[in-house]
Point group: C2
Chain length 799, copies 2
C-alpha cells in the first residue's frame, strides 16, 4: 500500500460508481461556478463538474452526464474524447476484451490516471493511457492527455473530440423524476483547433462558456490532420482522421478552459475562455505547475502518521484522500468566490448541493491551515444575513434565522416531504426545525476569530452575525413562569430520529439540551463580541441593529435561566421528556435487520417511529462534549444553576452511546472524539469506521451519490485536535495529547494567528516548532502552565 | 453658506450639466454593476447610473439618458416619472413659467432635493417637491419621493411611471460618434404596483434587472387608482389617472431595486429584484436608515475645519463634497465587488470609466478611514495580475506590466490616437508608455500594509504583486556599459506634455527621473516584502515565481546603479536631455491665450510641440517630493551615489513650478503639497484652486463630463496628511503639523492599524486621542522622539 495513491486494479462495473465518486477531480473553482447559483431552485439539483474516472458515467467536461445514444456522437466516458479503429464501432469498454485495467488517483500530484489494454473483435491489441487534472494554480484550466498505442497492428483511426451540453444530473436514482437538465444551450463555435460552447444555467441564468483545444502529437511533433467540425447549439464535435502505426504511439492533448458570467476580471466568458485557451501551454508545462502547487498544498495540509503494522499507512492514505476531497471542493481558488461547503462536495448530487451545518466539522481543519478559506465560507453566510433576518421576521421572531438547508440566495431549501424507500411512503419532513444550525454559524465565526485574531472580519462581519443570531435565540426563548426558566420549544436537535413527541401532531421537541446550551453559548459569546469591538464600531453596530440596554439585559437573564432537563440522576435529557420514552430492543432489531443505521426507515415501514424510543441516529447530547471542554461546560452549567460533576461526561457518554445507531456519518467522529481519552481502543475503532465510511461505502450506496465531506474533514480534525488535545482558548493555544495505541507518531503543520507551527506527537513527547519569524511569541498552554513559543524555536513536553 | 449643503437657487439651463455632475447620487454599488464589466471593450464607454439632479439630461434609473421624442413616452428628467395636468402637455420645465426653483444636495443625509413652483399656460400654479437617494445601507435600493400640490386649482392629472431601457451614453460630446448604446432589451413585465425590466449589457453580456414600485398617497392614505400598463421589451410604462385638489398634495413614492447577474447571494436578478422590492419599506422608513448610515460614514470621514472669515466654512463644504463623491464611487458596498476607481467616478462618462493611476491620490484617504475599501481596490488589481503578466510577456519583458488605462479584464485600453479639437487633427497617443502606473500599484499595496499591518493581504496578494512589479522593472532596465548605469528607456512620466524627443520618430523618453526612482523604490520594497514574509510563505512564493538568487542579486545591483540625470547644478532632469530643451515663452503665450492649461493643444495647433520646451503639464520630478519624505529620498539618492542636499528640494520645486502649466487637476495637489512648508500662502492658494476645480469647473467644461476623483480625494489628503505631516514609516506614525495661515483648527478621525485616533491641529497644538481600547499602544513619532499612545488616552504636543 502506498500512502499517496488510491489504486484500482482491474475493471469492475459494479464498483465504478463508487470509484468515480472517490476519484472525481476538482480545484475549488470548477464545479462551483454552475452549482453555486443553481442550487437555489426548489427541486432542482445542480450540474456539478465531472472530471471523474468511472466507467459507466457518461460525463463531459461540463457536468453531469450526457444523454446516451444520441445520433451525432456518443461519448461513453473519457471526457468527450473517443476514437474508432477502422472497421470497428466507437470505443466502448463493454464491447472489448479487457486485458488490463488500472486506475490511479495520485494525490500527491493531483492527477488521475487510467490505463486500459484491450483486444477488439479483430484481435487488435491497443493500449490507452490517460492522465487528467483540474489545474490547481490556474483555476479556469483542466487537461486530459491520452496516449494510444497499437501493439500488434497498424491502421486508420478516427478521433472525436467534443463539448457536449446535453448533460443531465441523474446520479441519484431517487431524484430522477425531478427536473435534471440544467443547461440551456445557447451557441457553439469553432476557432482553429478549438471548440467553444456557450450555455446558460436554466434557473440562475448564468452563462458558462467552455473552450477545448485538441492537439495530436507523434512524439513531440504535432500531427497535422484535417478536422471536420459539426456544430449544433448544444453539442460541437470535431472528427480527426489519423493513422496509428504499430509501436508508434499517438498522444492527444485536450485542454479545457471554463468561464462563467460570474467570474471576476473578465470581459465576458466567451472572450475569456478563448484568451485562456490561446495562452494555455502544453500539457507537460501545465502539469509541472499543477504539481508544484499541490506540493505547496500538501506542505500546509498533510498529516504524517506512523503506526503499528499497516495502521499508519492506511490511515495516512485515507486521511490524505479526505484532505484531497476537501481541497477539491474548497481550495485557495474558493477565496474569491461566493461559496459554502455543500455536505456532499460539489460533485456529489445527493442533497442537491445544499449547504447544511457540516461546516462545524470542516472549519477546524481549515482554520488551522488556510483560514482565508474559512473567511470566505463565513462571508458566504454573511452575504445571506439579510435573508436570514427576513426569515426570522416572517416567523415572527427577531435577529437572524439561518436556514437548515440552503443554496444560492440563502432561503430555506429543506424539503417538506421525504420518501421512505422501504415503505414507499412520502412523509412530512421536519428537519427545517433544526434551528441549531444558527448556533453552528456563530460558533464557526467565533472559532475563526480565535484562530486568526482577524479583527477586520470580526468587526465588520462576524460581530453582526453573532449578535443577530444571539437576538434570534433570545426571541425564540419563552418564559416559563411556573419553572422560572426560559425554554426553547418546537425544535429538532441534530438527532434526526426525533422530530416530534410520540402521538403528538405538532412537530418539534422542547428544550433540546444541545440547542439550549448552544443558545446560551451564543448569548454569552455575543457579550464577548461586544467587549472585543472598538468603541466606535460598537456604537455604530449597536445603533444600526437598534440594540438597547433592555435587550442586552434580557440576553443576560436568558443566559442564566435557560432550562435543561435531566433524568436518571445526572443524565442530561436529550430533550424534555426523553426519560419517559421506551427503551429500544436493539438486539432483536440487529438480529433481524443486521445494519440498523437507518432505523427510522425500518421503524416507519413497520408503522412505528423512533420518536417512541430512547434511540438516536446521532446522540446530540454528546455534541456538547465534542464542542466544549469540560471546563467550559462546567461554567455554563454553573451559570444556569445546574450540577456538573466529574462523572457527568463519562456517564452521559456511556448512556447515549448505548442508545445510538450511528446512522449519521458525522456521529462516528463525535463518538470517537468523546471516547478518545476514556476508552482509547473503542475510540480508535470508531475512528477507523469513520475513516472507511466513504472509501468502503459502508452505508451501502450513499458514497456513489457523493462523498460525505463533513465526516471526511472530521477524521482529519480528530487527528489534528482530538489526539493532540489542541484547543484555542482566549490567547492561549493548549495541548493535551493522547495518541491511540495503534499510532506511534503524528506530525503536521498548523497556522495559528499568522504563525506556522509544526506539531509532533509520540506516546511520550510533544514537540512544537515555530517555523515563522513572527515578532509576537505564541502562548502555549500545557497542563497548568503557559509557555512562550518564539519564531524559529521549539518547545518539547514530556507526556 | 452652510457647510453641509450644496445649494442652487434659480434655474439656469447653461449650468445644469455641471450641476448634474456635482449632484449625481450613488452608493458605491449602483453604477458599478453595469460599468465594471462594460469598460472592457475598446471604444465602448459605459452605462453609468444616473440618479442626478440636472435638467437637460434625460435620465432613467438605469443609466445614461433616454432617447428623446420617442412615441410612447418621453421623460424629460425626473427619473422616468412625469405627469400631465388636464388639458396640457407632459410636464416640461422649458414650457412653463418657473416661479421658483431650488436644488439642494444635502450631504449630511445623502439626499438630493429639488423643488419647483411653476405656472402653466392656463395660469394654474403647481408645486413639485422631490427628494431622492440611493440607499447607503441597502445597496440594491434607491427611492424618489415626489409631492405635487395645486396652489390655485383642482383637477385631473395623469401620472406616468416607467423603466426605460433605451438609454444611451452621450454625456461627452466628442465621443458621440462612437457606439453609445450599451443595453440590449430582453424583457419587461408588471406585477401589481411593480414594473420590471431585464436588459443585457451589449459587450459583457451581464444581465441587469430593475424593478420599480410606484405608490400614490394622500396624506398617509394610499390612493387606489386604475393603472394602465404598456410593456415593450425596452420600455415599460404605467399610467395612473389621479385627481389633484387645491391644497391637498399628492405624494408619489417610487422605489427602485437593481440586481445584476454578477451579484452574490441571489438566485437570478429578476427573482432578487422582485423580492427586494416586495420587502422594501416606505420611503420614510428607508430614508431613516439611509440617514443613520450616512451619520456613521461621516463619523469616520468628516473633516472639521475652522478658519479665517469664510475660509473655513467654504473649504469644509467643498471637502465634504469631495468626500461625498468619493463615497458614491467607492463605499463600503464596494468591499464585496470587483471594482477599481475610475478617475472620473462611475457616473462621469469621460475617459469611458477607465482606471488610471489616480488611486495614488485616492488611497491615502481610504487607508486611514476604511482600509477594507483599499483592500478591495487592490484586490481588483491582484485579480488582473495574470493579465499584467501576459502583457509583460508579450512585450518581451518579465513580471507584471499593468496597463495605463484599463477596464474589466485588465488589458491595456489606452487609445492609440487622440483628437486635438483645436487643430482638428488626430494624433498618435503614446500615453500607454506611462509604465510608472506599475510603481503606483506597488506603492499603494505597500502603503495599505503600512496603514493596516494586514499580513494576510501582504502574504497572499500584496507580496506577489510587488515582486512581479519589481521583476518587471528589472527586466525593463538595460545596462549602459559606458556609464556603468542601468537605464529605463522609451517611457513617459506623469507629465503628458512630453512623449518623445523633439524631431525623433520613436515615442518615449529615456531615464525619466520619477520613473527611475520609483523603479528603485519598487526593488527595495520587494526586498522588504521578502523579509516580511514568514519563511514558509516566502519559500512557496519564491518557488511559484521561480525567483532565484541570481535574479535577486540583479535587483540589488539595479537598486544601486540606476541612472538619474541632472542639469543646472542640482536640478534633477525630468528625463535625460531635459536640460537641453528650449525655455518656453510663458508671458507671450499667457498674453495671447490666457488660460494655458492645455498648452499641448495650443502648440500642436501651431504645428509646434511641447516636446521642444521646458514645460510641464504636471511637473513629475515634484511627484518625488510629494511621495517621499526628504529622509527617504536622501537614502535612495545616496544608495545610487547621487548627491542630495538640503537645497535639492526647494531648488527643484522652484525650478519646475516656474515651468508648469497646471494642465492636470492632480498637479495642484502636488504643487500645493510641496509648498506646504516652504511657502504656506502660495500653497494655500494652490489648495484653493484644487478645491474649486470641480465645483467651479475651472477647466471650463470638463466637470460636466465627470468629476475628477483623484483631485477631489487629493484635497482631502492634503488636509489630512499634508497639513498634519502625518507619515507612516515602519512601526511609527509620525506627525509634523503646519497649518495654512487661513485655517485655525483641523479635526478628524483616522483608523490606524485597527485603532481609531482623533487628530486635532491648531497653530500651537497637536492633540491625538485614541478612541479605541486596543491592547497595543500606537507609537507616535514627534520630531526626534517616539511616544506611546494608549487606548482611551490622549497625547498633546506643543508646536
Amino acid at each position: 500500500m502506498n500512502a499517496w495513491t488510491l489504486v484500482y486494479d482491474g475493471f469492475d462495473p459494479e464498483k465504478e460508481d463508487l470509484r468515480e465518486a472517490l476519484c472525481t477531480l476538482g480545484n475549488g473553482y470548477f464545479a462551483t461556478r454552475g452549482a453555486a447559483s443553481e442550487v437555489a431552485a426548489d427541486d432542482v439539483h445542480y450540474p456539478g463538474t465531472y472530471l471523474a474516472g468511472g466507467y459507466n458515467r457518461l460525463e463531459t467536461e461540463v457536468s453531469g452526464r450526457t444523454i446516451e445514444n444520441e445520433d451525432l456522437v456518443n461519448f461513453p466516458n473519457w471526457l468527450a474524447l473517443t476514437f474508432r479503429i477502422e472497421g470497428d464501432e466507437w470505443f466502448d469498454l463493454r464491447r472489448v476484451e479487457i486485458l488490463a485495467y488500472r486506475q490511479e488517483l495520485r494525490m500527491k500530484e493531483g492527477v488521475l490516471g487510467r490505463d486500459v489494454r484491450f483486444r477488439d473483435s479483430h484481435g487488435r491489441i491497443t493500449v490507452m493511457r490517460q492522465r487528467r487534472f483540474v489545474h490547481m494554480r490556474f483555476p479556469h484550466l483542466a487537461a486530459l492527455e491520452t496516449v494510444l498505442s497499437a501493439e500488434n497492428w497498424s491502421g486508420a483511426l478516427e478521433l472525436r473530440t467534443a463539448i457536449d451540453g446535453r448533460v443531465v444530473n441523474d446520479g441519484v436514482r431517487r431524484y430522477r423524476g425531478l427536473n435534471n437538465r440544467h443547461l440551456e444551450p445557447l451557441q457553439s463555435w469553432a476557432e482553429g483547433d478549438s471548440l467553444f460552447l456557450r450555455t446558460r444555467t436554466s434557473q440562475s441564468r448564468l452563462e458558462m462558456v467552455q473552450g477545448v483545444r485538441t492537439e495530436v502529437f507523434s512524439g513531440e511533433s504535432p500531427l497535422a490532420t484535417e478536422r471536420t467540425t459539426n456544430a449544433r447549439p448544444e453539442l460541437i464535435v470535431q472528427t480527426l482522421p489519423l493513422n496509428l502505426n504499430q509501436n508508434e504511439p499517438i498522444r492527444v492533448e485536450k485542454t479545457l478552459a471554463l468561464y462563467t458570467s460570474r467570474d471576476w476580471a473578465i470581459s465576458e466568458p466567451g472572450v475569456a475562455a478563448a484568451k485562456a485557451l490561446a495562452r494555455a501551454p502544453s500539457f507537460a508545462e501545465m502539469l509541472e505547475k499543477h504539481r508544484a502547487t499541490w506540493e505547496h498544498l500538501w506542505h500546509r495540509f498533510d498529516i504524517r502518521i506512523e503506526g503499528r503494522e499497516n495502521n499508519g499507512v492506511e490511515a495516512e492514505m485515507i486521511l490524505r484522500l479526505h484532505i484531497f476531497h476537501l481541497l477539491q471542493t474548497v481550495s485557495l481558488h474558493a477565496i474569491d468566490l461566493d461559496v459554502g461547503v455543500p455536505s456532499r462536495g460539489w460533485h456529489g448530487e445527493a442533497y442537491r448541493g445544499h449547504v447544511f451545518w457540516d461546516e462545524l466539522y470542516i472549519f477546524p481543519m481549515l482554520n488551522l491551515r488556510v483560514p482565508e478559506i474559512t473567511r470566505t465560507l463565513l462571508t458566504y453566510r454573511y452575504r445571506r444575513l439579510e435573508e436570514a433576518r427576513a426569515m426570522a421576521r416572517e416567523a415572527g421572531l427577531r435577529g437572524a434565522m439561518y436556514p437548515w438547508q440552503s443554496g444560492s440566495d440563502g432561503r430555506e431549501e429543506s424539503q417538506r416531504l421525504h420518501l421512505n424507500p422501504r415503505s414507499g411512503r412520502w412523509l412530512p419532513d421536519n428537519t427545517h426545525l433544526q434551528k441549531h444550525v444558527n448556533a453552528a454559524i456563530a460558533w464557526n465565526a467565533w472559532q475563526y476569530y480565535q484562530a486568526t485574531e482577524d479583527a477586520e472580519f470580526l468587526h465588520y462581519h462576524g460581530a453582526e452575525m453573532i449578535l443577530e443570531i444571539a437576538r434570534f435565540w433570545s426571541s425564540k426563548a419563552s418564559w416559563n413562569g411556573e419553572m422560572e426558566r426560559y425554554e426553547i420549544r418546537g425544535v429538532m436537535g441534530p438527532d434526526e430520529y426525533h422530530d416530534a413527541y410520540p402521538g403528538v401532531d405538532r412537530p418539534g421537541l422542547d428544550n433540546n439540551a444541545y440547542t439550549n446550551v448552544m443558545a446560551v453559548w451564543c448569548l454569552l459569546t455575543a457579550f464577548k463580541v461586544l467587549d472585543a469591538l472598538p468603541a466606535d464600531r460598537r456604537d455604530e453596530l449597536v445603533d444600526t441593529l437598534e440594540l438597547g440596554e433592555k435587550e442586552l439585559a434580557q440576553w443576560d437573564r436568558i443566559s442564566r435561566r435557560m432550562r435543561l432537563c435531566f433524568h436518571d440522576e445526572g443524565i442530561i435529557s436529550q430533550f424534555e421528556g426523553y426519560g419517559e420514552l421506551e427503551e429500544f430492543d436493539w438486539e432483536t432489531y440487529r438480529a433481524k435487520h443486521g445494519q440498523v443505521m437507518r432505523l427510522d426507515r425500518i421503524l416507519e415501514a413497520e408503522d412505528d417511529t423512533p420518536n417512541r424510543y430512547k434511540v438516536s441516529k446521532q446522540a446530540d447530547v454528546l455534541m456538547l462534549f465534542y464542542l466544549f471542554s469540560s471546563e467550559e461546560l462546567r461554567e455554563i452549567f454553573q451559570r444556569l444553576g445546574y450540577p456538573f460533576e466529574y462523572e457527568t461526561i463519562p456517564r452521559n457518554v456511556d448512556y447515549y452511546l448505548k442508545r445510538t445507531s450511528h446512522g449519521s456519518t458525522l456521529s462516528q467522529i463525535v463518538h470517537s472524539w468523546v471516547l478518545a481519552r476514556s476508552d482509547r481502543d473503542r475510540s480508535w475503532d470508531l475512528f477507523k469506521m469513520a475513516l472507511h465510511s466513504d472509501i468502503d461505502d459502508i452505508q451501502g450506496g450513499t458514497t456513489p451519490e457523493g462523498i460525505h465531506l463533513g465526516a471526511m474533514a472530521g477524521t482529519v480534525d480528530l487527528v489534528q485536535r482530538g489526539y493532540t488535545g489542541l484547543e484555542m482558548r482566549g490567547e492561549v493555544l493548549h495541548f493535551n495529547p493522547c495518541l491511540p495505541r495503534d499510532l506511534s507518531r503524528l506530525n503536521f503543520n498548523i497556522r495559528y494567528r499568522g504563525q506556522s507551527v509544526s506539531v509532533t506527537v509520540t506516546h511520550d513527547r510533544l514537540v512544537l516548532s515555530c517555523l515563522m519569524c513572527g515578532e509576537k511569541p505564541i502562548r502555549i498552554g500545557w497542563r497548568d502552565e503557559v509557555r512562550e513559543l518564539h519564531g524559529g524555536k521549539s518547545l518539547e513536553f514530556v507526556l
